[in-house]
């Protein structure tokens, strides 16, 4: 009985992890995701840029930034976000 339980343990703790690890090697060739556009990262970048615009507006509202700098920074961020949106849209198509 003890002998059998040892085999079960070896199966669970050694054989199963090894099967789990080598399983992808038996798949058909997968495309390299590295060369694809990283959609989640782009979406994340878009969210972060929107957040930066909101923070900038708040900085302006509480008087931490003057009007000239506010306008320049807002314009820069908007250009950046529109570039990201263009990339996202082109990838959807």
């Amino acid at each position: 009985m003890h002998f059998i339980s040892d085999y079960i343990l070896v199966f669970i703790f050694f054989v199963l992890p090894v099967i789990f690890v080598i399983q992808p090697l038996f798949l058909n060739k997968i495309n390299n995701l590295k060369n694809k556009i990283d959609l989640p990262s782009l979406k994340r970048k878009k969210r972060l840029l929107y957040r930066q615009i909101k923070e900038l507006e708040m900085e302006f509202d509480i008087g931490n930034i003057n009007q000239k700098d506010f306008k320049i920074s807002r314009k820069e961020l908007k250009i950046e976000v529109s570039e990201v949106i263009t990339k996202l849209n082109s990838n959807k198509i």
């Binding site: 992808p24 090697l25 060739k29 990283d38 990262s41 509202d61 008087g63 003057n66």
Partner: protein, 653 residues
């Protein structure tokens, strides 16, 4: 569960880590995604086997399997359950396995979290984490294996038991918290190395590790504060920070990590300081490993030297390798790390942040120099010259005060440039508040750095209040909200900003607590039952001496009544004199220990130590300390944790 399985699991984890690194390197070369998936799964496999071996060791500690040397060294049949659990990090091999365990948790989270993200970065992130895991697997497999059998030619019926100083509930929490901080910086470091390898030095990698850095910083800060709390509660010298080498070892990465947390804001918002940020995160991680080296090597004499060993050279080699490889990579990628933007004005938030960063790094260097001075002096002059708290205080108190001042100045500066009118508008109220406070404190009779510290605290609190008020005013004006609603919405919509300000409030309170140290008073005396003595306006009367036997020690308990100078009752204190391992027939192995009792208020702590007992004559030898404002250190710590949690709290987009 057979303990042999623990050792085998560690062997397998070692093998998997090498395979993971090789597989991912081949993937980077040929781009076959099947290899990437295998490498990713091998990384999960390393963690699985590390978890398995850790749980097996925990199980052996709980069932008191003294056939294992580690279990016999750090537990006994009398060790309470909670300390059998904490014995995992009481000794060297166990604590290294614990390091690996936490790293494996973080590596698993990183791999699972980024399965469909950061395809460019992830291979090198996994390789970097696997190399760190490999280092600890080499140690736990071949240098100091926690599953080694007991080296005795007889059956071990009972173990040595845990060091009494470690039999404290804070000590069960403090090391894991500190380790979570130390190990947590592995992930940002891995992302930094990956960004360097991929030539991706845009702010995006910074944004993906910001949360990790904050989590690691939160744990490191909490670990340091808990360590101070443990020292205060347990070591019996009345303080919480002694500039001990191991304390310094945790403080140095905290300083560089704090600098990094501030400067990544500039990279996020302005895409500046790329090189500086890279250097800071590399230094922080190297200092974390260096901290583990200081704790484990025994190269320094420290109150933390529970497990001095010969691991020093191996750790030091690893630290040097990290620094050489990382800085060589930085040098090779220097053109990518160059930022196109420059700081435009001295009175800008960018320059405020940069100055704050420089001060943090200078402070880190001062602590580093003081900590290593005994080793350096011994190497150069052959004599070990120890640098004590006076050196550290002399250097770090002024630097700390500059940092405190900058905490107040930073938020009031605008990005790019602050106009003269804005400077006057923003700084008038806080500066006036600080000056008024300084005059009041001097009138009370305070002097020197005490006045500076208290008035700077007032100045910083005034700046933070001003920031909150301006934010609330802007919201009430724009959205017509009530003050409370405006405050809540403002914080929830700008969590990192206002969470950061709340952390600053915590830091101010901690400075108030530190400053109270200037007013400490203490006295040592002996009392017979019914006798009285006086300290700092309080009267201490010994009412009773009793004794009791508990599961893991024998204790003499003193009952001291404390009254104030008007004769009014304040409290009763019950400090204890304990003997651990009291049942051990070898008298030399019994360990005496003083268990303190503290009466704590916002104003001051009354700290009592039962130093010794003369049983024949019924005399208790006591030490009483009156420590003002200590509680503010812990309150500041709580606020710091709350502020960081606010900054960390995920938001809906």
């Amino acid at each position: 569960m057979n303990p042999v399985a623990g050792g085998v699991a560690l062997n397998l984890a070692f093998g998997f880590s090498i395979l993971s690194i090789i597989t991912l390197l081949i993937f980077i070369r040929n781009g076959d995604m099947r290899l990437f998936l295998t490498g990713q799964r091998l990384s999960l496999g390393i963690s699985f086997f590390v978890f398995l071996s850790t749980f097996i060791l925990w199980y052996q500690l709980i069932i008191s399997n003294f056939d294992i040397d580690y279990v016999a060294r750090y537990t006994s049949l009398e060790t309470p359950f909670i300390y059998k659990i904490s014995a995992l990090w009481a000794g060297q091999s166990g604590s290294l396995l614990f390091w690996l365990f936490i790293l494996s948790i973080f590596a698993t989270i990183t791999v699972l979290q980024n399965q469909s993200k950061h395809h460019g970065l992830m291979p090198w992130v996994i390789i970097s984490l696997a190399i760190i895991q490999l280092f600890f697997l080499v140690l736990t497999n071949f240098v100091t294996n926690p599953f080694m059998p007991t080296d005795a030619d007889f059956v071990v019926k009972n173990g040595n038991g845990l060091n009494p100083l470690l039999q404290n509930i804070t000590m069960a929490i403090h090391p894991p918290t500190l380790y979570l901080g130390y190990v947590g910086f592995s992930v940002p470091f891995a992302f930094a190395i990956s960004a360097l390898m991929n030539r991706d030095t845009s702010p995006l990698w910074i944004q993906s590790i910001r949360r990790w850095t904050l989590v690691a910083w939160l744990f490191l800060s909490s670990g340091i504060i808990l360590g101070g709390w443990w020292a205060y509660q347990e070591l019996g010298w009345g303080g919480y920070w002694a500039w001990d080498p191991v304390e310094n070892a945790s403080f140095m990465p905290w300083l560089t990590a704090t600098a990094f947390l501030h400067s990544i804001i500039i990279q996020e918002k302005k895409d500046m300081l790329r090189l500086w940020n890279m250097a800071l995160i590399i230094l922080t991680f190297a200092l974390c490993i260096f901290g583990t080296f200081l704790t484990r090597s025994g190269v320094m004499s420290s109150v933390h030297s529970f497990t001095a060993s010969s691991l020093g050279p191996i750790f030091l080699t690893f630290v040097f390798l990290i620094l050489i490889v990382s800085f060589t990579l930085m040098f090779l990628r220097r053109s990518d790390l160059r930022s196109e933007k420059r700081i435009e004005s001295f009175t800008s938030r960018e320059s405020g942040f940069l100055f704050n960063n420089l001060v943090f790094v200078v402070m880190c260097f001062a602590v580093f120099w003081g900590t290593l001075f005994p080793v350096i002096s011994e190497a150069v002059r052959g004599t070990k010259i120890t640098v004590g708290p006076p050196f550290f205080n002399q250097i770090n108190v002024p630097i700390g005060l500059i940092l405190l001042a900058l905490t107040g100045v930073g938020p009031l500066l605008a990005w790019r440039n602050t106009s003269k009118q804005s400077l006057i508008k923003n700084f008038t109220v806080p500066i006036l508040s600080g000056l008024v406070a300084a005059v009041i404190f001097m009138a009370i009779g305070f002097k020197g750095s005490v006045v500076i510290s208290f008035s700077l605290s007032v100045f910083v609190l005034a700046t933070i209040s001003t920031e909150f008020m301006r934010g609330i005013k802007a919201r009430t004006k724009t959205f017509n909200e009530s003050i409370v609603k405006a405050l809540i919405t403002m914080i929830s919509k700008n969590r990192s900003r206002y969470g950061g300000y709340i952390v600053h409030v915590g830091i101010v309170f901690m400075f108030v607590g530190f400053t109270g140290h200037a007013f400490d008073k203490e006295k040592e005396f002996s009392l017979k039952i019914g006798q009285t003595d006086h300290v700092a306006g309080y009267e201490f009367t010994l009412l009773k001496l009793s004794e009791t036997e508990r599961s893991n020690h024998y204790a003499w308990i003193s009952d001291i009544r404390v009254t104030d100078n008007k004769g009014e009752f304040v409290t009763n204190l019950y400090p204890e004199k304990r003997i651990y391992f009291h049942k051990n027939p070898d008298v030399n192995r019994r360990q005496p220990h003083s268990e303190l009792d503290i009466y704590s208020t916002l104003n001051q702590d009354i700290y009592s130590i039962f130093s010794a007992i003369d049983n024949d004559n019924g005399i208790a030898f006591l030490k009483i300390m009156v420590n003002p404002l200590v509680r503010w250190v812990w309150i500041g710590g709580y606020i710091l944790v709350i502020g960081t949690m606010i900054a960390l709290w995920p938001r809906k987009d």
